[in-house]
């Protein structure tokens, strides 16, 4: 190009003949390429014709562009295709459990909290009074608008408090657990005989319905809703998140049973997202029956079910899909196989501010101070139900949220820092190249809650896209939400997102914008519209 052009431009006759030669050369190359391309396409057509092409394998002689540059999948994946997610960021924090043994918990107080369920009216009908004895699986309350869906007690014990929040809404029903757990005996249900309606009625009556979360909006599904597909992510890539391979140990049968239940609930498929990065997933995940498995390789948020849905089969405004966590699937399976409501959960207690991070076997809605009973906790800390990105701030007297299996304790950052924006003296997690973090890729950080700057208007562009492995423009979506542009919100993919998916974008935001809050505001608006 360079030489031919220069010659053409400057040196007259001899340059002209060079120009003709190079044109002929290019034409020959193009002809050759066309021949190869046609042959190659015929190959692909044939593959489709005999049904060998399932849309994922590559039957062309040319490697696909991403195959050239993507890292190699680890050996345990085998021949299965892997979705490599380039965007994302792993925030490495101090305070992960040193040991992988699960301790039996000594938590005595639990709560079931109506505000945990998005879409529930604020004052549900409470079926118990303070002083009542309940068994695990006994109904505690139901929504007055959706009377069939029962919310049940995770443990047996005595109701010791019914606490109210703003405008007399019910914030928590607190239960003091018995030493010996008693379970309400559920009627037996045979999966092979009943139809879907009976199964749905059984699950609603016995408290399993709130285990499901429905996208779009991340709400409890309405009784009549039929999900297009059901998605389960078998790994959590959030900072300090529990390892699902530990959680599943000893529960393999219940997990498979739970997947069988899911298969009856949807006319579509049940999809399992597997982690192709790090250690091999447990056999219960890789060898699960009746499901389609999909491997994902990438940094956080690769483990978020929303990201996986986007790459498997995205959600539009018309269709609904359900999502569950691994422990919810186990609870569902236990209900059908053993005839009891299994409120037990493995919870990771983590963070740099406690003496001994560890795994604890306890139940849904455990009290935070009970979880930390045998620990020394530093002063001036923040308790988070969930991970540091999308969890909820709690006090020590409050309880873990319904869907959370993680308690994180980090330092509060209410200090002034001299020239902190210019010359930060302590290491801190960041995706920015202006910090020397990239020199120490395995360094763990002791993060605190300081905002490291003040809120500003959106200025920097393109930074959200770097940590969100979706074909989506988060900044423009947020602006559409702020100006209430319905068409844009829908078009730019608000239905595909839940708070946890944009949490990392919020973390990296230079302008310190509250993206999760903005997104929920948009989701609420859209839900009211529909």
């Amino acid at each position: 190009m360079l030489t031919s052009d220069m010659a053409f431009g400057q040196s007259g006759q001899s340059g002209f003949s060079y120009f003709i030669y190079s044109l002929v050369g290019v034409a020959v190359l193009i002809l050759l390429f066309l021949v190869v391309q046609v042959a190659d396409n015929l190959l692909a057509v044939e593959a489709k014709h005999i049904g060998a092409d399932n849309g994922k394998a590559n039957y062309s002689i040319f490697p696909r562009f991403n195959e050239l540059f993507s890292p190699k999948a680890p050996s345990f994946v085998g021949e299965s295709p892997v979705t490599f997610l380039k965007q994302g960021h792993d925030i490495l924090l101090e305070g992960a459990p040193a040991s992988t043994t699960i301790e039996e918990g000594t938590v005595t107080t639990f709560a079931i909290q109506p505000p945990n369920f998005i879409g529930l009216s604020p004052i549900p009908k409470v079926l118990v009074e303070v002083g009542d004895e309940v068994k695990a699986g006994d109904p505690i309350f139901f929504d007055k608008k959706v009377t069939d869906v029962k919310f049940v007690s995770p443990v047996s014990g005595e109701v010791i408090a019914i606490n109210r929040g703003a405008k007399r809404s019910i914030s928590e029903v607190v239960i003091l657990a018995d030493k010996e757990q008693k379970f309400r005996a559920l009627p037996a249900y045979d999966l092979d005989k009943g139809n879907r309606e009976e199964l749905v009625a059984y699950l609603m009556e016995n408290g399993a319905w709130p285990l499901f979360q429905q996208r779009p909006f991340n709400v409890i599904p309405a009784p009549g809703d039929v999900p297009r597909d059901i998605f389960v992510s078998t790994f959590d890539s959030a900072p300090l998140a529990p390892d699902a391979n530990l959680v599943i140990e000893g529960k393999e049968a219940a997990f498979q049973k739970g997947l069988d239940v899911l298969n009856q609930l949807t006319p579509g498929k049940v999809y399992l997202g597997l982690n192709a990065k790090g250690d091999a997933p447990a056999a219960a995940f890789t060898a699960a029956e009746g499901v389609e498995t999909n491997w994902f390789h990438g940094k956080h948020p690769a483990g978020n079910v929303g990201i996986q849905i986007h790459h498997i089969k995205p959600v539009g405004g018309q269709d609904k899909v359900w999502t569950l966590g691994v422990q919810e699937v186990i609870a569902l399976g236990t209900m059908l196989s053993e005839g009891k409501y299994d409120g037990s959960r493995v919870v990771v207690v983590a963070g740099a501010e406690i003496s001994e991070p560890k795994y604890i076997r306890t139940a849904v809605g455990a009290k935070i101070s009970d979880l930390l009973k045998d620990q020394t906790v530093n002063d001036n800390v923040r308790y988070i139900s969930g991970d540091v990105l999308s969890g909820q701030q709690k006090t020590a007297d409050q309880f873990l949220d319904f869907h959370d299996d993680q308690l994180t304790v980090i330092a509060e950052g209410d200090y002034y820092e001299l020239f902190g924006w210019l010359l930060p003296l302590s290491p801190r997690p960041s995706v920015s190249g202006t910090f020397p973090n990239f020199l120490f890729p395995d360094a763990q950080f002791k993060a605190d809650t300081n905002t490291h700057g003040e809120k500003r208007a959106f200025v920097v562009t393109g930074q959200y896209e770097k940590v969100l492995p979706m074909d989506l423009y988060p900044q423009h979506l947020m602006k559409a939400i702020l100006v209430n542009d319905f068409e844009r919100m829908e078009g730019l993919g608000i239905y595909e997102l839940a708070e946890e998916d944009v949490a990392l974008c919020e973390f990296v935001c230079t302008s310190k914008q509250p993206l999760q809050q903005i997104l929920r505001q948009g989701l609420d608006t859209m839900r009211e519209q529909s």
Partner: protein
């Protein structure tokens, strides 16, 4: 030390209601000295260490080499014109002192006026002082000729900051690049101060010898006298009184204006390629030294602050247009060939090393607020700036440079580019979810 400073700040904090302006001012300086103690409330519990102040200050850091060289080059060009101290390091102290005398007032006026307006609007709107002007204020002096009258500078900054930014809602809301707006205001309102052959070398004034107009160095002021006092004290050469005639054959023309009139031949008759590359040529203060600008650009890309997509695509656009121009220009020149064809015939790679192309690429086009905000859009945006800028530079008869106008033009259209990128995304999504439903 830290505690004492913190106590001092907390003691002098003015009352917010009684004196809002003082409080805004206080808040600005306080948050400059101390990262605030605010903690995350809702949403994420930890935040990235990066904030807007840090982003902005890194852009300013990337320009520092241009500042250093630009300051020296003001003096160097002055003495080159007079035919004195023609070696690069000869009379270094004089060149540096002369450069400082020129650039410091420009820098101070820019910041006093710009930050003053910023503070005033922050007070009026009741929000914290935003950092946008840190970068604009650092850019504006680099874009100006060394002899720009300070009152013109003041007026242009008033125009740029008030009409260009505050009218749209402040930092992050403006449509056009603030620094370029200031320059384009001077360009259209006071063109004789920022274009032509006379403005790029500082402290010269017209005179005539035997009826032939020429230039001589203007009378030096009190600041030069002050430096003379110091320099004579330590036994160094001094500025003297001025009134020195320029050397024979002096022209203040920039390579581009030479190129516009006589093509590459007339450029190389005055400047060598290495002079143009290293930047010892007349021009706006910060634009001349290519390697230092490239270092700044590499710094911005490495830290991830400026978009490499815009820079790369802008180079591509300029190269493509440069090649087209090379292609359509006649291969042989006669006496009658107009200069424009000779300009067109300049090989595209020389076009990149002349004028302010690299400076515009590194610091002006990459402004995230006024550029396209989608990654695809950035490719289109950068490419079109390069493409159109080259057209304006070469084919426009009046003014042989195009980046300022091309960038402002594409600033206007950046939102339109984004619109189509978003529309495509929406269509793609609609199609995908429809497939998913069926």
């Amino acid at each position: 030390m830290k505690k004492a400073l913190l106590n001092f700040f907390q003691r002098i904090e003015p009352d917010k209601k009684k004196s809002p302006f003082l409080h805004t001012l206080f808040d600005g300086f306080f948050t400059f000295a101390f990262a605030p103690n605010t903690t995350t409330a809702k949403g994420v519990h930890i935040r990235d260490g990066m904030d807007l102040k840090r982003t902005m200050v890194h852009v300013v850091l990337a320009m520092q080499l241009c500042y250093l060289f630009g300051t020296f080059n003001i003096g160097h060009q002055h003495y080159l014109a007079l035919g004195q101290y023609t070696g690069l390091l000869e009379g270094f102290h004089l060149k540096l002192a002369h450069g400082l005398i020129k650039i410091i007032p420009i820098f101070i006026v820019t910041h006093v006026v710009g930050l003053g307006i910023e503070f005033y609007y922050a007070m009026r709107k009741g929000h914290a002082i935003e950092e946008g002007f840190l970068v604009s204020g650092a850019l504006i002096p680099l874009l100006m000729p060394p002899d720009i009258p300070l009152w013109i500078l003041t007026v242009s900054i008033f125009f740029a900051v008030i009409i260009g930014k505050e009218a749209f809602g402040g930092t992050g809301m403006n449509i056009w690049n603030i620094a370029l707006l200031a320059r384009v205001f001077v360009f259209f309102a006071y063109p004789t101060y920022i274009s032509g052959d006379e403005v790029w070398v500082s402290a010269l004034e017209g005179t005539s010898v035997d009826g032939i107009p020429t230039y001589m160095s203007a009378e030096y002021g009190w600041a030069h006298g002050f430096f003379d006092w110091i320099f004579s004290g330590v036994g160094w050469n001094t500025f003297g009184d001025g009134g020195v005639l320029v050397a024979d054959g002096f022209t203040g023309a920039t390579p581009l204006s030479l190129a516009a009139s006589g093509g590459w031949e007339s450029v190389t008759s005055v400047y060598t390629e290495s002079q143009m590359w290293w930047g010892t040529i007349p021009g706006s203060i910060g634009e001349t030294s290519k390697p230092l600008i490239i270092l700044g650009a590499i710094f911005l890309i490495a830290t991830g602050i400026a978009s490499w997509r815009i820079m790369v695509s802008m180079v591509l656009g300029a190269v493509v247009m440069g090649m087209i121009l090379n292609g359509v220009s006649p291969s042989e020149f006669t006496e009658a060939t107009p200069g424009i064809f000779k300009f067109m015939a300049i090989p595209w790679y020389y076009q990149l090393s002349m004028g302010s192309f690299l400076f515009a690429m590194a610091f002006m086009a990459t402004d995230p607020v006024t550029a396209s905000s989608t990654n695809t859009g950035k490719w289109v945006y950068g490419f079109l700036i390069g493409f159109i800028g080259m057209i304006i530079r070469v084919i426009n008869p009046a003014y042989p440079e195009g980046w300022m106008l091309a960038i402002l033009f594409m600033n206007t259209f950046s939102a339109l580019i984004d619109h189509y990128v978003l529309e495509a995304n929406m269509k793609r999504r609609a199609k995908r979810t429809q497939v998913a439903v069926s």
